[in-house]
Amino acid sequence: MKALSSTTRERIDLLARAYPRLFPRAELLRLVRGQLGHVDALDRWIRRESAHVRARSPRLIYHICAGNLAVSTMTSIAHGLLVGAQNVVKLPGPREDDATRREITAFVRGLPMQLRKLVRLQSGRDEKTMQRADIVIAFGSDATMATLRAQLRPDQKFIAHGHAVSLLWIDRPEHLTATELRACATDVLTYDQLGCLSPQAIYLSPGHDVEALGRKLAHALETQWHRLNAKPSRPLGVRARIAEARDVAWALGHRMWLPPSGHLGWTLMHDPDPAFAASPLHGIISIRISSAVELEKNLNTVRGRISTVGVAGVASSSPWREPFLKLGVSRFCRAGRMQFPPLSWHHDGRAPLGELVTWMDDETTS
C-alpha cells in the first residue's frame, strides 16, 4: 500500500464522487467538521481556544468484517479512508452465500485509484498485520471480541462492535399513516434483516387492535417486498429457517400473516409472549405486546445490547424513551430510518472519526 499523499478535502471529493448515494459530499464534510472540529484538522494546525491543534491519522487500521452485511464494513473502510489511514480488511470466510464478500470486494474495486491504494483485502486473518495496526476494528460475537482483545498489544486501540439487536416501538397503531406503515416495512426488509440495526421485534403498547395492525403491516410488507429491486436470496438454509419459523408458529397457535402467494419474503406473527426472543431474520418479525413500564423486564435478556429503537405512532408527550434508556439503548430514530443512520451516527455510542485520530497540541503560537 502506498503512503498517504492527499488532503482530507481531496479524499472527501474522491469518496463522494465514487459513491454519491452512500457517501454524499455534504454529509462527509459535516461528519469531518462535527467529529474533528474543522475539515482541515488532519492537514494543518487549527486554532482552538488557547492553542493550535492538529489531528494525527492512524497509520494502519485492521478491519475484521461482519459476515452478514457489507454496508457496515464499507462504512468502516470509508472512515479509515477519510482519516487517510491505510486499511487492511479481513473479509468474511467463504459461506453458502458469498454476497457479503462480493459486495465488499466490489466496493473497494469501485474506489478511485488514489483511495484504492490505501485498502488491501485479505481472505484469512493476518496476525502480523493485525499486530502492526494502530487500530483494530472488529464485528462479531462477544466471545470473538474477547479473544481478539487478548491478542492485541496494550497500546493498540480496539474498536469492538459486538452483537446487538434493534426494535420497532409502536405506541398508537390506529394513528399510523400509510407512510409510517411503509416505513416499518422498510426497516424490516432492508438488508434482509441481517444487521444490528434491523428490527428483530415490533413492540406494541397494550390495548390496541393487533389484528388490524397485523393486517395493515402485512399489506405494507407485501408492497415493500415487491418494491425491492434486488430480492435477497433464499438458499436451503434460509428456506429451512423460514419454513421452521412458520411451522412453529402454526403449531403454537400464534396468529400469523403470510404473503398471499406464500413466497418467503416476509413473515409476520403475533407472539403472545412479551419477552424478547431473537428472530430467525430474513423478514421474520414478531409483534409483541408490552407496556412501557414492563419493557425493562421483557427486554432484560438484551439489556445493554439494544442498538436502535425505531418509533412510529408515538405521542410526543408519552414517556416512552425512559425504559429504553435504562436498557442502554444508544439510538432512537423514526421508523423507516433504522437502517440508514447519518454518517455521524455514534455506532455503539462511539464517535466514528473521533475514535480513530489522536491529537497534537501546539501552545507556542498562542
Binding site: 462477544d142 466471545a143 445490547r305
Partner: protein, 356 residues
Amino acid sequence: MNFPRDFSRPTERRAWIAALLGPLPGKRWEELALELFAWQFARVPEFRRLCEGHDVTPARLRSWSEIPAMPQQLFKRARLFAHRDATPQSVYETSGTTTGEPGRQYLLRTDIYEAVAVEGARRAGFFEDAPDFHFIATSPHEAPHSSLSAMFGFWNRAMTRGRGRFAMDERGFATLRHDLARARRPVALCGTAFGFVHFLDALPAPLPLPRGSRLLETGGFKGRVREIPKPELYAQLARTFCVPESAIWNEYGMSELSSQAYAHGTGGLHATPPWARVLVVDPATGHEVSVGHEGLVRWIDLANVDSVLSLQTLDRAERTSRGFRLIGRLPRTEPRGCSLGAEDLLTPALPVSSIA
C-alpha cells in the same frame, strides 16, 4: 371421533408392533400411516394446529407424503404427548446444544421403541453372527433420559442377556480395554462419535478385534469441544481396531423418534426399516427434491406413536435412488456479524470496559 385403535392400551400397542413388524406392502403402509395420523391429529393439539395451518386434515389427506412434519424445535417448546393426562413411562431429552433448552420425547411406554430399535438393527444386518456387545456410552440406569442409552440397553438385553459393558469414563475404559483384548468372538462396539474419540485417546496401542467385529457410531459431536472429520475418525477406528471401514456403521436417529436408519462406511447411504420412511424435502414446499439434489431430512415414523409420526429435521441430505446420503446439519445459526442471535442470549453481555 372413534378410532379403531386406542394406543394407550397394551393389547393395542402389541397389535401395532405386530403390524409394523409384519409384511408392509405400500397399501398397508399407507393405511397404517393415515390411521396413526388421524389419531395423533385428534390428540396432539400442536400437531392439529400445524396440519390445519397447512390445510391438511384426516378427511382431506390423500397420501402419507402430504402429512405435515413437526419441526424438531417444537419438542423444546411444547409437550407433544398424545396421552395428555397419562404419566409417561419414559421422558427422553435431546442434548439442548442449540438453545440450552432440551427437547423432550414422552413415551407412554417403551414397548414400541424397544421392539423397533431391536428389530430395526437386526434387519439392517447389524446383529449378524450374534456378536458380543459393548457400549461406549452411559448406561440406561445412569442416564434414564437418554434415548441412546435406552436403545443400547435394549440391544444389550436382546443380544447378550445384559452382559455387555457400558463405559464412559477412564475406569470404565480400562475395563473395556481389558475385555476387548481378551475377546475371542466377534464384537459389536457401539458408541457416540465423541465417545469413540475419548476411548481412542485412552488406548495406548492398537486393539485388534476378532474377525467379524463391527463398530457403530452415532450422534456426531453435538457441540463438543473436539471434533474429528468423519473420514478421519473412520480411518483411525479402522486402524486401531483392525476392522475394514465397511464394518463401521452409522446409526442415524434422534430422541424425538423411535426408529433409526443405518449406513456402512464413510460414504454409505442410509436406509430406514420398513415401518419408517425418509423424504428429502425442499423446506419451502415440503415436496421431495429430485434424485441427486439436496434437501432436508423429513421422517415419517410409524413407531412414533406417543408424540407425532412426522418430524422435520434440519439435517441436510442428498436424495439418491437407493436411499439418502447424510451431508450434515445446517449450521445452528446464520452467519451473523453485528446482529444478535438466539445462542448469544444465553450469555450475558460483556461489560463495555472488558471488550473496548
